[in-house]
Amino acid sequence: MDASPTHRHPVFCTVVPPHLLDRIARSRNPRFADLAQATLERDSLLRTRRRVTTVRGLAAPAPAAPAPDRPERTVYDAQHRTRLPGRKVREEGGPVSGDVTVNRAYAGLGATYELFLTAFGRRSIDGAGLPLDATVHYGEDYNNAFWDGRQMVFGDGDGELFLDFTVSVDVIGHELAHGVTQYTANLEYHGQSGALNESVSDVFGSLIKQYALDQTADRADWLIGAGLLGPAVDRGQALRSMKAPGTAYEDDELGKDPQPATMDDYVDTVRDNGGVHINSGIPNHAFYIVASELGGKAWERAGQIWYDALTGGELATDADFRDFARVTAAAAVARYGEGGAEHQALQKAWSAVGLG
């Protein structure tokens, strides 16, 4: 935390996990302590609201105005600047754009909406028809895509290390799934709950690709971000592999894929919010094993179990991997019965990654 005189306010927009805010709230500097306390109260109020929304959503499935069974998409163009959302360039039912990136984003939002609706009966991100907004052409040579709490944002990549972030439909699905998590289990974005948040996005991102291609689990590539790496990357096929975490790339420019597949190789780090994009390899791999054990279309049973765990209200916002293993196993039992093929696949998967 920087407290130099040039800062009139502490930098609370930076990555400040709640446990750190807790510490700052007890700070002897009353200015920091008050601000941290206010942030914590706002945060917890928001979480309570989301929980209430989730629980109400389960208790009262028929809202006053039922959401239609179609998405309400809008794609914006940031025109290489960073102001959001940017200029509106395509809206639901409107004419096709002359810009392939705009059309890819639009199609990706549609594919994501369709999987959640047809496989899980969920209407959009919030389950109540929330409009889906995406901004493309964000920034200059911007090597990233993110969810800002309200919408998806996609960079074009620098054309060397990374290409346009809309090229992989699983990346689009990944960002939208962050929205679904935000409205449901709302897993805190640091440490193991953060890695679960990331993993859930990879799982649904991959399922959206598999659904769009109508693939069975044994035919899927189980890669996240295939086709995204640019010509300067010599050795790499994607950003992450759920089938074989740690093997997606090994390259002079990017380094080596740091993902572990099992708890034996769990990475303790403070970087990247405590390794949320690293240790997500462990629950990712567990999902792959479940889907492979069960065979067929991965979204039908394995995906349903993950969806039930995410939305069932049993997962705490600070859940760790063991909590998630327990809740998914319980979800498998609740839906498919004790000792059934699904329950056994769950036990085998969590045991294989060191969480049995």
Partner: protein, 92 residues
Amino acid sequence: MRISVVRTGGFAGIERRGEVDTSGRPDEDEWRALALRALRPGPPCDPADPAGGVRDGFSYTVTVDGRTVSFRDPHLSDAQRALVSRVLKEGA
């Protein structure tokens, strides 16, 4: 003036670092002005959700002659964005 940038997080989760020593460079004054502007606070984040809403955003730590500031996407000033992209490009 020594300027270093560490960028973490992002969809890929790949860390990037860059460092530039501006001493004696013909464009030293320009670097210095940019770095000093980048040390000032960026635009405020959403007051309703200051730390939470963004997923897969980049986080940046910038150190200018021993003074360190941190910020995260998308809450960067133009100077912060210009500085981090220049240092990561030229000082990688």
